[in-house]
Symmetry: C2
Subunit: 257 residues, 2 copies
DNA sequence: CGCCTGGTTGAGAATCATCAACATCTGTGG
DNA sequence: CCACAGATGTTGATGATTCTCAACCAGGCG
């Protein structure tokens, strides 16, 4: 128990000193998102003891890379990451953005190698959760096992959502949907749902949604002109939530308004 | 142990009589795909005892429906299923095709309700695996737990593959990739990799790949004219595997040849 | 200050969707 | 067994959304 801190007191000391390191699962304000609700205090301690908290990732640094041997999943503590894979012809395809409280790296379990790379879009702190240990712990704590099944299932559901987006929706619908999604995830983290800074570039947005930078830029322009958004570079204010949500569902796009 | 057959001898008797029902995990020829390799014989018996085998699904019948309470995942024994969700504006979006040996329904775990519907494309036999019991069993059999994590992770990886397809690739690339995928999955099941019958309609293919029926039809035509395929309605023969694989990766599409 | 990255805007081109007509297949009932 | 109807698939002509290419603008950093 508490092996990590027992064995590496120096590292723990470092944790106590840098304010960003000292968080444990017990006092992490993201616990409600990242952790199962049903865990007992003692269980949380056990989970806490296997979680490794390294130094923050600088923008562009990788949490892991495609084809790396898989050993852990990661929880975002602060900042934002993007996951992407490189296609056979060398292009990058972003498969997801990960905000605080969200878990990434679960695509690596099946082949024991990461199926994607993950890099920080801005300075980010992450918790590394060794998967071997997590498996052991899950076998002992049913609610933890269930929670992990749920997390993976959620990832599947998210991906299917995106598949639907890409298969059926116009550029406007996709972008509106992304903004709605970011807004919702912000409010889950007790941040503003209507006013936030996009951590990713236009190129990233386009890549993720299967659009070009130019199209992204134009759609932002149209949304702004239509009074749905105020856009100042990466600063976004949603002015008309309902209409944005409608646009995401293809009801009354901006073009026809 | 063997609760199912102990408690419901009548049902078991029915299983013994109809040849399609009598399979157990022990003698199922798909075990190598569906089951973890590492399971001991006694473990397989335990898993076998929780698996329910119902009557076959007729074409169009549902294994489960979106929003149904989630209680089980399903393994395909024979036939093919498609999973789809209905968008807010009432359109259908297919999220996957499932061939024998593959597992579906894992997207329902997170919300305890199915996130998609699954229906048979042709007469199909499926194994129902109650998830609650599977969780208990997984906690006791580490390799089973690991296998299930792997299965879910594989689903994530598949979905991300499709996302990449939809985001970046042309109609030709998408269709070539689907054919390559079906071919590969066929050969994994010891069936012909070059000659097979598509279980799904053109409309399903188009829906899945984000294309219209007409485009699907035209691409099949072009592939045929270019000598990559022989297409006779749903019967497909791959004549030039390498070129088809290249087309899937965008190398030397048919249009420019 | 000037370079470089990231973002915006414009004009033309291309892929794919839409609309429409037609062909083929399936299965149902006479 | 054939005929017919509905579903499924093919083919053609036209058009729209989005991509491509290109120029230009803004901000950050050496």
């Amino acid at each position: 128990m508490l092996k990590f801190s027992d064995q590496v007191p120096a590292a723990e000391h470092e944790q106590r000193c840098r304010h960003d390191y000292q968080i444990s699962c017990n006092n992490c304000r993201l616990a409600s998102i990242c952790l199962p609700i049903a865990l007992e205090a003692s269980d949380i301690d056990q989970l806490d003891s296997i979680v490794q908290r390294g130094r923050p990732l600088q923008k562009g640094e990788h949490a892991y890379r495609e084809h790396d041997v898989f050993s852990a999943v990661y929880a975002v503590r602060s900042g934002t990451l993007k996951a992407y894979r490189v296609t056979d012809d060398g292009q990058e395809q972003i498969t997801g953005f990960y905000f605080p409280g969200e878990i990434l790296g679960m695509d690596g379990i099946s082949k024991n190698r990461h199926a994607s790379s993950a890099t920080a879009l801005e300075t980010a702190a992450i918790c590394e959760i060794p998967f071997e240990r997590l498996g052991e712990l899950s076998a002992r704590i049913p609610s933890l096992q269930r929670h992990f099944f749920q997390l993976m299932s959620q990832e599947i559901a998210y991906d299917q959502q995106l598949i639907t987006q890409l298969g059926k929706n116009s550029a406007e619908q996709r972008i509106a949907a992304l903004l709605v999604s970011i807004s919702a995830r912000n409010s889950e983290r007790k941040l503003s749902a209507t006013s936030f800074r996009l951590p990713m570039s236009r190129a990233d947005i386009g890549n993720y949604l299967g659009l070009t930078v130019e199209t992204v830029s134009r759609v932002f322009g149209r949304f702004q002109k239509a009074g749905l958004l105020a856009v100042d570079n990466k600063e976004i204010s949603i002015l008309d939530v309902d209409q944005l949500r409608n646009a995401a569902n293809g009801i009354g796009g901006v073009t026809k308004a």
